[in-house]
């Protein structure tokens, strides 16, 4: 297990280097001069040249990349072109906020999605099943930013019981969490339903029932445990979409997280910041996938990683 973990961790390094290389080359090769953007419209050619030297943009591209990678090795992602603060510092300040939102959202999504999926699977093709399946389709088709704004209209503008944006108290967390959780709930409910339906048709479920076990025990102990693997996969994969959804949700609720940082950096063409933030996002996503793989082994002892 430990060996597998280490091997998986090492195997992420080429992927990360690849991502950084792709980002680096593409960011540099395409139009839009960051020095021009930084200097502003009034700047003289000398000013622009000075900024270019400061950013190291006057050096050959392979040297720029070599420098970038060697700094990366010591976790130095450079300085933001916009705020002049170290990129890692800026990310570090925002990451906990995004992490908080992602955790509350995924927890809420599991708490609603898994039971909803189970109920739908236990009573397939009944009204309650159709209700769950329709709601999950709605959730998947709903633009999160629209849902967020509509929640603001209802709970902040009309009822005035929850703040429309910002961060601080638990009340600030409610609307962004519900917004972000909405489409994840849908995916989890769908996957739980189909996974449970498959397991419930297995012989060992019939055996368990014919033994006279209580239905609750059959469903929770015999069926759910066997249906968990695909559900965990979806939860893990959804964590990635959650990071994407966070970009939109954070914009709607003025939530100071990573998502907003990326959007602001894109709008300002702040290359070091974009690069750093996306690299960290990639790293996070790979880590989550690794954790998911490890949870498999824990849930299903039949899986061995040799």
């Amino acid at each position: 297990m430990l060996q597998y973990t280490i091997r998986r961790l090492i195997s992420t390094i080429p992927v990360l280097i690849g991502i950084s290389l792709l980002l680096f080359v593409m960011l540099r090769a395409l139009p839009g001069d960051p020095a021009l953007v930084l200097a502003g419209q009034m700047a003289s050619p000398e000013d622009i040249e000075l900024i270019r030297v400061q950013l190291g943009l006057n050096q050959p591209i392979h040297i720029q990349y070599a420098k970038f990678i060697s700094r990366l090795a010591v976790l130095d992602l450079g300085r933001s072109a916009r705020t002049q603060n170290p990129v890692l510092e800026e990310i570090w300040a925002r990451l906990p906020n995004t992490f908080l939102l992602a955790t509350t959202a995924i927890t809420l999504a599991c708490l609603i999605g898994i039971p909803a999926g189970i109920i739908a699977a236990v009573r397939p093709y009944t009204k309650i099943d159709y209700l769950v399946t329709s709601f999950s389709l709605f959730g998947i088709s709903m633009p999160v930013f629209w849902l967020g704004l509509m929640l603001v209209v209802v709970f902040s503008v009309t009822l005035q019981i929850l703040p429309a944006g910002g961060i601080g108290t638990w009340k600030h967390v409610v609307l962004p969490t519900v917004t972000l959780a909405s489409f994840v709930v849908a995916f989890i409910a769908r996957m739980t339903r189909s996974s449970m339906l498959e397991v419930l048709s297995q012989d060992y479920i019939t055996t368990a029932r014919s033994k006279g076990l209580m239905e609750k025990v059959v469903i929770i102990k015999h069926a759910l445990r066997n249906a968990l693997i695909p559900i965990i996969t979806v939860v893990g994969l959804q964590f990635g979409s959650l990071l994407g959804g966070a970009v939109l949700t954070e914009t709607v609720f003025a939530w100071p997280g990573m998502g907003r940082l990326i959007v602001d950096s894109i709008l300002a063409r702040d290359y070091p910041m974009i690069q750093g933030a996306i690299l960290i996002f990639g790293l996070l996503y790979i880590l989550v996938n690794l954790i998911v793989d490890l949870i498999y082994a824990w849930v299903d002892p039949r899986i061995h990683y040799d």
């Binding site: 080429p14 992927v15 690849g18 991502i19 792709l22 980002l23 593409m26 960011l27 395409l30 139009p31 839009g32 329709s134 389709l137 709605f138 998947i140 088709s141 709903m142 633009p143 930013f145 629209w146 704004l149 509509m150 603001v152 209209v153 503008v157 429309a164 769908r190 996957m191 189909s194 996974s195 498959e198 695909p230 990635g240 979409s241 990071l243 994407g244 959804g245 970009v247 939109l248 914009t251 709607v252 990326i262 959007v263 950096s265 894109i266 709008l267 974009i274 996306i278 996002f281 990639g282 996503y285 790979i286």
Partner: protein
Amino acid sequence: MGSGKEKTAKLPEGGRSSSEGIPSGTQSQFRKGLAKLLRNKMAVFGGILILGYMVTAIFAPILYPGNPSTPNLMRSLERPSWEHPLGTDELGRSILGRIIYGSRVSLMISLGVVSVGLLIGVPLGLISGYYGGKVDFILQRITDMLLAFPGFLLALALVAILGVGINNTVISIGISMVPIYIRLVRGCVLSVREQVYVEAAIAVGTPDLRIIRRHILPNVMVPIIVQTSLGMGTAILFAAGLGFLGIGVQPPTPEWGAMLGSGRGYIFNSPHVATFPGLAIFLAVLGFNLLGDGLRDALDPRSKI
């Protein structure tokens, strides 16, 4: 296998060509699938929604004769009325008019996006799955790298590189979908390749291109069709997301996401500005998802979700 189907193979319709090279039993199965699709009320509802949007997009100038981008500041932020059934936005433009013209933009974008995904992803998936070896290894590592990013983030990163605008929106979202098609097609090809009829075709010395076209491609058509319907919905959602963030389609082009984004500033006093474009996005995406789900149930009953 597949002999005697040359006539159907020459027909240009996508539906027919998918049964090319498949034994005739499967052909009737395909018809059964279509009949099953038409019995699925949700899928039909999805199809009607999409048809509605298509009609709206095509007949936009008849449905809304004026220019949807001409501001009329005297009438800004009006609530819904007879003259402007969905009200006006901050520049006094009819929201209904902009939604009608927006359906053109959104449908064009989603068509463009799936075209990019299909044109790059399907051939690469076929090559990767059929030839295997080094080509497969390299392609799959690149796919890994692209899949290391959640779709929307990848599109966002690409927009960061390419810049804003309608073309870059299409290219960015399209490229973000390429790895999905590569994986999907490669997976199908790997299982089809093991079939006896493919081995037989290889044994009698059929050229690779012919094997791919006649025996492999028809068998991976169904997942591609399903993925394309779902992909159209995702494309609309992603494009609207980029528009909302201000890094997608730029004003004054009427795009639903960008309309929502500008309506956000007036959410307290004029919530209708953000409400209706969002509804338009929701219904369009719902339509493609319902149709995609229905297609999957009807044509590919083995697949799970």
